[in-house]
Subunit: 195 residues, 2 copies
């Protein structure tokens, strides 16, 4: 088991997670979103896919027992524990463009998108290779009748965590989210360790 | 205005749509899904994105007045008319893998995924470049409480159509869908023309 590693507020990281290893991600202070991406280590053109996951899992609300699938229809990560129970797989990582759109009066930040691009660059992964992330602890209610969605303050409590078991050798990108709406207006760290 | 072009059942095509042109897609017999993809003609690494669209449009139910956005946060297509009013942007094109998963007793078909890959190949677009499609006329109800989704028979009537205006020069991929569930168990053609 590795030591607990801290992702500082509004930053991101990337690392390898081999088949069978478990990645455990903690929201240490509560109400903090973490964007997660996964790529096949052998060929980073294989990547986590919200659409393939919705196809096979037949739900938008992914939790313990669900698997996250790749664009090539292979299982990438299996959720083996989840004390939060509420995550989002609909939205893309916040970026300079989303900051300009949603927060025109606030300073532009490169966001999770920029943080992920920098962290994943050494693995040969560029900006255009960043799809929708699996947004841990993110609270995006959907109205089934109208389809309307909104980004609300996460419901995660301090210490809530999710554990994901790798079903293939992966490169993981992981952030402590930089957007105001997704964190209730504050920015906090994210902790993780590999087991 | 071009002549009406027919996409035969379980097949697909690709063509260019220039900025300002309108693509009108018809469901001539009703209850038939058509998967639509869009790429920037100048650089096909820029592609339609369900996540960016959900970000900016703040709804899963896209219809007249909504815009489909690219992975680079640029408007690609604007829905300027829509007699059907019900489409899906959650799911990926049906493929050999989805046929094996959902229809284990039926013959495997390359599906919209295979049809799109073949049609888009000459534009330098490969299988790994195919994201979630905007699935015209597809009926995928979502339970807002549980997140459960299902693929139901389309509600489109014969002659229903949607018109999309290009906000940039695009390469379009378009199919007459090959999956059983999305078409109520039958396969029908799709018609389109460019105005």
């Amino acid at each position: 088991m590795t030591e607990m590693t801290r992702i500082e507020p509004r930053s991101g990281t990337a690392f390898e997670l081999n088949e069978g290893q478990v990645l455990r991600v903690y929201d240490p202070e509560g109400q903090q979103v973490s964007d997660l991406l996964a790529y096949a280590k052998d060929d980073v053109r294989e990547v986590i896919s919200n659409g393939r996951t919705f196809d096979y899992e037949e739900t938008l609300r992914l939790t313990k027992g669900n698997t996250l699938w790749s664009n090539r229809s292979n299982p990438m990560l299996e959720i083996v524990e989840d004390t939060a129970g509420l995550h989002d797989f609909l939205l893309t990582p916040c970026s300079k463009a989303t900051f300009r759109h949603f927060y025109p009066d606030k300073p532009v930040h490169r966001g999770c998108f920029g943080n992920l691009a920098e962290a994943l660059g050494p693995y040969g992964i560029g900006e255009d290779d960043i799809p929708c992330a699996f947004n841990l602890f993110m609270n995006v209610p959907v109205d089934g009748e109208t389809g309307r969605l909104s980004v609300e303050t996460p419901r995660s409590a301090p210490g809530d965590h999710i554990a994901l078991k790798a079903r293939m050798d992966c490169v993981i990108g992981l952030t402590a989210c930089s957007a105001y709406a997704s964190n209730g207006g504050s920015f906090k760290p994210i902790d993780y360790r590999i087991e």
